[in-house]
Symmetry: C2
Subunit: 198 residues, 2 copies
DNA sequence: GGGTTGACATACGCGTCGTATGTCCCGAAT
DNA sequence: ATTCGGGACATACGACGCGTATGTCAACCC
């Protein structure tokens, strides 16, 4: 590949900035995070930031894309561990609920992300989470397990329910107990998609 | 009630500020809305703002509470127009989806609200929307139509799915068509709560 | 090895929030 | 009726943060 020295340095600084941004955005929220402090923490200045990401929103976009990819990867792993495809869909949802308990994901992806970047389904990072769920549902329909339904609509609703549940769980006084209730309700709701109710 | 002149003036300025805030927050978003412009539009200055609402977040809280109450009222009306209680729950959800198509609700309640004020279930304005759905589900369980399930969990998931669907619909290229798909998928999902699948 | 390009630092202007201070008028007490 | 206190709102001020414009130095190309 013969990646020149310039390019390697560039990737390094981008990585450092994204790392610092994940920390700052998660701890203080997007609005309260100072670009001066953030870049200083990364051992750089705002010059590097505006050169690499254009503006503050650009940095958030990069951070969200990275986390989104990690979430999708986790969900896919959860799905593949399940015995059947249908249980895979359930585990995928449960996985989202559990992942969203992490403050970093809460704050950045679920709260600030949509507010600053707009509707998640329009994110250019292609929204890996949504695509993963859509693929699973598509397969379930072809398999005959799930009733024919618009794949994107179902995926959106399922993910929306899961992520919203996670927000609720994380803000509750007793997360473990509430998590159990949320998962139970999620199973019930999801079963509405089944051709033969289980 | 013998409300004094002072109190009446106060209510008037609060109302004027909230009116201007709804407009500004909806059009420019919370972050980009200038308190100077906003208060000027209301024929006042920032002094009135900080006296009545404490800070910018306080104003947003007041706005969100007002809109939340209006949404809950609309949902209740939709529910009461339905033939059966179960159809009432569906209509309530559909009502949320349709209401959230208005940019004002989108921007203020669904995007900026959670980002600035945190998890909606913790909003002091008691989250009228959620309570309305909870009441409906509770009645459905007592009626025997819906399987026993944690009421708050079910309501959170149902509402989350609906509102998330609305975000998707509003951001789509062809809202009417997408709206139909969303409603269809919503019906399916909700039917998962039914004791006897229909 | 000199010129060019690009990555990043530094310096500045502009706008905004929150507060501290000032002003004026309603309402009550005498 | 006059005075006085307090509350509602206006004005003035300080601090901070974003984005841009300008500067600098090292890496690539010939």
């Amino acid at each position: 590949m013969a990646t020149g020295l310039r390019a390697r340095m560039m990737e390094e600084t981008r990585a450092k900035l994204i790392r610092a941004a994940r920390k700052a955005f998660a701890e203080k929220g997007y609005a309260a995070a100072s670009m001066d402090d953030l870049t200083a923490e990364a051992g750089l200045t705002r010059g590097a930031l505006y050169h690499n990401f254009g503006d503050k929103k650009g940095l958030l976009r990069a951070v969200v894309d990275e986390i989104d990819a990690e979430m999708a990867e986790g969900a896919r792993a959860a799905r593949d561990r399940a015995k059947t495809l249908w249980l895979g869909l359930i585990e995928e949802g449960v996985s989202y609920i559990e992942m969203a308990l992490e403050p970093e994901i809460q704050r950045i992806v679920l709260l600030d992300g949509p507010a600053v970047l707009g509707d998640p389904s329009r994110w250019p990072g292609q929204n890996a989470c949504l695509r993963t769920t859509m693929a699973t549902i598509q397969a379930l329909i072809e398999e005959g397990t799930v009733r024919p339904v618009d794949v994107e609509a179902a995926a959106r609703l399922i993910n929306g329910a899961a992520l919203n549940a996670a927000l609720w769980v994380a803000a509750s006084d007793n997360p473990p107990a509430v998590l159990a209730k949320a998962i139970e309700a999620f199973r019930l709701l999801a079963s509405g998609l089944l051709r033969e109710p289980g």
